[in-house]
Assembly symmetry: C2
Homo-oligomer: 340 residues x 2
């Protein structure tokens, strides 16, 4: 197996190495017809520039910034830990990762941080987006400056972000409904929903998906007005406790995210016939899965998401292809027996 080098391309195209180099790095001063000739040669020889050698020669360090909410949910704590660990891991690939914490759910904070960082923001940004015009504008400004942007966990599809790294949250909601539909044996009853925040697109979408399926396929189950827990365990617990007292016929529960600990605490005295699906894989949900108090947990793997965001940002700055299969973020279903 012999690698095709830029020199080979030069020979094939009948030009010098310097010209191939100019084409490769689209420097100016090459006639259009020559560019095409070189391109053809590259295709024919199936030339792939050696990225390792290139970054070596370039003395290039990739610099990416992660902007994540400073909130205290278990999930974002995980995310931050994974970013730290990725920072260490990726130095060997000359990738420098910068983590910026921003107050959660605050579009202005994102915009301000981006402004404050200026050029220090590096070659690319991964940010947990909040649905807002300010964020859209910020993203578009970054793109206009040639900085790559991926949204992360929570998307703003209508912005110029190049990619979204995360799960399809509508589908996640549908999965939750689909599971509860199968888990709940009662011929009729109520379903409780503990919502997280309504500002992040992800939670809204999950609820949408959940209700779609419930409405369409579970006429025997009625979804109660959802509880807003503000992602705070204490709030969740007290609200859920009173809901369960007031509605003795709750047979299913979906916790959309944030404050899951409160859900588990509130379930202490609940009926054994109450089937539960939550999000977040923490010590609490693990214990509850093992004890059988909850039935399934729907998760996105933070470790995978961080790695994926880094790889995608690198591919974007290198202008190389993205391996779709590798970057597919799964909606993972954990039951007691496939806990990692």
């Amino acid at each position: 197996m012999v690698r095709v080098t830029a020199q080979d391309v030069a020979d094939a195209a009948g030009v010098s190495l310097a010209t191939v180099d100019r084409v490769l790095n689209n420097r100016k001063g090459v006639r259009e017809s020559t560019v095409e000739r070189v391109m053809r040669a590259m295709e024919q020889l199936n030339f792939e520039r050696d990225q390792a050698a290139a970054t070596l020669a370039r003395r290039r360090n990739y610099r990416f910034t992660f902007m994540v909410p400073s909130g205290e949910t278990a999930f974002f704590a995980d995310i931050r830990a994974e970013i730290e660990s990725a920072r260490a891991h990726f130095t060997k690939d000359r990738i420098e990762i910068n983590m910026i914490m921003v107050p959660p759910l605050d579009p202005n904070a994102i915009a301000q941080e981006v402004e404050r960082l200026g050029a220090d923001i590096g070659d690319g940004v991964a940010l947990v987006a909040v649905e807002s015009q300010i964020v859209r504008d910020t993203i578009n400004d970054l793109r206009a400056r040639g900085i790559h942007v991926v949204t992360f966990i929570s998307d703003v599809p209508t912005s110029g972000r190049e990619r979204f790294v995360g799960i399809d949250n509508v589908a996640a909601g549908r999965v939750a409904a689909s599971l509860l539909k199968r888990f709940v044996h009662a011929p009729e009853g109520e379903i409780a929903v503990v919502a997280g925040s309504g500002t992040l697109r992800d939670h809204v979408e999950r609820r949408m998906g959940f209700e779609q399926v419930m409405r369409a396929e579970c006429p025997h189950l009625s979804v109660l007005p959802w509880i807003e827990g503000e992602e705070l365990a204490e709030v969740v617990e007290s609200k859920l406790t009173s809901l369960l007292t007031e509605n003795p016929n709750v047979v299913g529960l979906y916790s959309i995210g944030g404050g899951t600990r409160g859900v588990i605490d509130a379930l202490q005295g609940a009926s054994q016939n109450l089937r539960v699906v939550t999000t977040e894989l923490s010590a609490h949900t693990r214990a509850a899965l093992i004890s059988g108090r909850i039935d399934a947990v729907l998760v996105q793997d933070p470790s995978h998401e961080v790695r994926s965001a880094v790889r995608i940002l690198k591919a974007l700055t290198d202008g190389t292809q993205i391996n779709e299969k590798q970057e597919r973020i799964r909606i993972e279903i954990f039951v007691r027996d496939n806990l990692p």
Copy 2:
């Protein structure tokens, strides 16, 4: 961020670059005390050799061989396709992948192929192991020759293989039981199990896990003697059809692997109260999930497994660390709504 180079280490240790290089590639001719001094310097400076530059300089091509069964199950067809795709994908990292097909379930064939290949087998091997002394010996011989070995999909833990790339199959069986336990609403009934082959350790383990949970937690469900389908759709279909006719009270079904198409065909006329968990994500299982004829599919991601095996073999030959989180192969649960 400045990279620490071998030259920096040399300066810190008060030796020349050449000596650092000797230590780095454990060449002989360096006094023990000097080796230690260099090592200390490397630790202090937190030196990480630049693998990219190293492979570039070494003019090294990694060569790995995948030995996979030539069988016709959808799963192994997928695996082979993924290996092909990995072969293309990894050339840019100077990794050459060789795929050898061996007759399924035949330990001698594996041994013979290894012998036939000789040194052509390259730097490492990934093989779908069959439980057998011959295979154990073959693996140990390879290791003795300094060739790295990982088992793949199906393990032989008592051999000298350095890693197993695949899922915990006992756990997979437990998951299946755990799901069926929740899916089945009937107060009592029978559970049918369609087994694959008994020679591959993976299927045996899945059955173990399944029966563990069923026995311990589902006294109201009795597991019927399992059907041996020999991984052939036709055989599975006919055997399962007669089983369902003879046992009208079958309320749950677990298909362990191989010939899943036959399962689906046999289910055509079955009771709507029959809950079904299978393996393998194919066009057939997809369609059946969507139609609701089956409830869940348990899968291991072939694409991930192949990439993981390659990365692990590379890390082993480089002597670098393995990123455990990245290499965790998931027991994936697919329902209708999280299909990729």
